[in-house]
């Protein structure tokens, strides 16, 4: 509750000053972004907290009947923001299945464009899970985000949007996020026996499941 109530900028406010430092293998790039408040700094300085900063676009609170309605219903678990004209809801993990179902049933967000996640290893709740929704009748796009901790699971939305099936499998494959109630949660792009989830930030770009490669391909290394 406390975290979400703060106007979140994607890379979370507290703790991690520098996500770039987290990148394991981006050798050449690490140097320059290591100093975040350098020349193109205006946006970076906007990061810490304040919603109102004149330089650079920042997420602004977003009000609409929709938001008001759900805020009344669910209280402060919902945070509605808009950034560069794109609206998104920051929703508490506990409200996820209800909000998403209501969005489809009542607000006609009948098309789940994409489900994905972002990894912030420094944060306590490491993962942002993002649902990108679209409403054909309203011709409107909406993102719903929530934060979960590593190892925590999240309800599957396959029963709401069947298209979530593969999308959730991909998120599971790449981030290791468990989706409860998914009919067939298994890896989709990587081989079944693979170890590790490549899109986590602690997974290096050259890293691979050596054991799997040796057993299944009969070669020393895939590099």
């Amino acid at each position: 509750m406390a975290e979400e109530s703060k106007p979140l900028v994607p890379p979370t406010p507290e703790g991690e000053k520098k996500p770039a430092a987290e990148k394991p293998a981006a050798a050449p790039a690490t140097a320059s972004p290591a100093a975040p408040a350098k020349p193109p700094a205006p946006p970076a300085t906007a990061k810490p907290a304040a919603p109102a900063k004149p330089t650079g676009p920042v997420p602004l609170p977003w009000t609409s009947p929709l938001v008001e309605k759900y805020r009344r219903q669910y209280g402060s678990g919902i945070d509605a923001l808009t950034y560069l004209g794109q609206n998104y809801l920051n929703v508490d993990r506990s409200l996820i299945p209800d909000i998403l179902r209501l969005l489809r049933d009542e607000e006609q967000f009948d098309y789940c464009v994409d489900i994905t996640a972002v990894h912030y290893p420094k944060r306590e709740r490491q993962f942002d899970v993002v649902w990108i929704l679209y409403s054909f009748p309203r011709n409107e796009r909406l993102r719903v985000k929530t934060q979960i901790a590593d190892g925590a699971s999240i309800p599957s939305v396959v029963s709401i949007w069947p298209t979530a099936n593969w999308l959730e499998r991909e998120v599971y494959d790449m981030f290791g996020i468990q989706f409860d109630g998914h009919p067939d949660l298994k890896r989709i792009l990587l081989p079944d026996g693979w170890k590790g989830h490549p899109l986590r930030k602690d997974y290096g770009i050259l890293q691979q499941d050596k054991e799997w490669v040796q057993v299944n391909l009969g070669i020393e290394s895939g590099q």
Partner: protein, 389 residues
């Protein structure tokens, strides 16, 4: 038969119990067949596990990932500019569209806009590429259904488009035509003439394709009522692009949420009625003609002016995230980019149309025959480079 959302949501999609008990073939009435990953009709390295009763398909399961290259991971380790060529390698038959989507997404994140001239050039090239993509689809799809000849006709005509690309940016397939903020290259001297030549050259060729197929009895029998999917199911499954439109949903991102200069052009969105393979064929054929219309308007109206917007040398978007999607030849191609303020994207998520559309294969082919699986894979127009990324 597959109209109900409930059936869909009960995990009907691609959830196949492959453990068949030790039963004789006739009694179990089931036969598991592996189609692919090396199979002439799966358009790459797609593996479809078919569960058959005789020739009837009881269910399918797609096994993908044979072409997985970790594009999203690569993005996190490249600068915004360095990543640009990588997107060409996803849907390699529509590389220009991929580049357009990516560039526009980053531009949005930077809050800059490409100058009008660049936008017109982008539209011309993207629509040319849409035609090229549809041509490739038509050729391979017809080949899957057994008509060999259209393949060669479409490849002959696609060559003209590739020549324009080559003259414009030096590459034919993975063009890397656009840059963040505009276009890298000014149009070459004969660009407009070439495009106009193509505009005159191509319509008779479409007629030629249609003469071979559109009213061909066998073609009708093979495509009508094959792989039917309702608009409702399409939306539930997130299917976009010509497949969605063939099912009767008049939705095209170029109209719904215009990007580039599309709002300035006059064109129609073809819509099908039955959502079968034939409608998808017709929709794409009409789309080719409509693309010609757009190109005509765009190439006649290319304004003068710069081709690059005001973009800093080092691209460092402010902290934030953006989702931007365009209408690629295969459907909605989206980029979800998270920036942490550094020169490298913190996260790039590609929403690939082929990947999502492929999910619909299962419900489209249930109860159909093996030959229809081939037709439906063709009609979905998937590119495995994009499915697996």
């Amino acid at each position: 038969m597959k109209d109900s959302m409930d059936e869909l949501s009960n995990g009907a999609v691609s959830h196949l119990d492959l453990e068949t008990p030790e039963k004789p073939y006739l009694d179990a009435n089931e036969l598991i067949i592996n189609m692919g990953p090396q199979h002439p009709a799966t358009h790459g390295v797609l593996r479809v596990i078919l569960k058959l009763d005789g020739e009837k398909v009881l269910g399918t399961e797609c096994v993908i990932g044979y072409l997985h290259r970790g594009v999203e991971k690569i993005a996190e380790n490249r600068t915004y500019t360095m990543f640009n060529p990588y997107v060409d390698r996803m849907d390699y038959v529509a590389a220009v569209s991929n580049g357009l989507g990516y560039c526009e997404a980053v531009e949005k994140l930077l809050n800059v806009e490409a100058p009008p001239r660049a936008q017109y050039i982008r539209v011309v090239l993207t629509e040319l590429n849409r035609i090229a993509s549809h041509q490739l689809w038509l050729g391979t799809h017809a080949l899957d259904i057994g008509a060999m000849t259209p393949l060669f006709y479409t490849f002959r005509d696609r060559e003209e488009i590739l020549k324009i690309f080559e003259r414009y940016c030096g590459a034919r397939l993975t063009t890397h035509a656009f840059r963040i903020g505009g276009c890298q290259y000014e149009t070459y001297a004969g660009f407009e003439k070439d495009v106009k030549n193509f505009l005159a050259f191509f319509p008779p060729k479409i007629d030629e394709y249609e003469a071979l197929l559109t009213s061909n009895r066998i073609w009708l029998e093979r495509t009508k009522n094959v792989g039917v999917i309702s608009g409702k199911d399409c939306i539930a499954l997130g299917v976009t692009g010509p497949v969605l439109r063939a099912s009767g949903v008049k939705w095209d991102l170029r109209k719904a949420q215009p990007y580039a200069a599309y709002s300035k052009f006059d064109f129609e969105i073809p819509v099908g009625e039955n959502g079968d393979t034939y409608d998808r064929y017709m929709v794409r054929m009409i789309e080719m003609r409509q693309s010609l219309r757009i190109i005509e308007q765009a190439v006649n109206g290319i304004p003068e002016g710069p081709i690059m917007g005001k973009v800093p040398k080092v691209i460092k978007p402010p902290v934030g995230e953006i989702y931007h999607s365009i209408e690629a030849p295969k459907g909605e191609l989206g980029y979800f980019i998270v920036s942490d303020g550094s020169t490298q994207p913190y996260r790039v998520r590609v929403r690939p149309p082929s990947f999502v559309n492929l999910q619909a294969l299962d419900i489209m082919v249930r109860g159909m025959l093996v030959a229809d699986v081939v037709a439906v894979i063709g009609t979905l127009d998937i590119v495995l480079g994009e499915v697996d990324r």
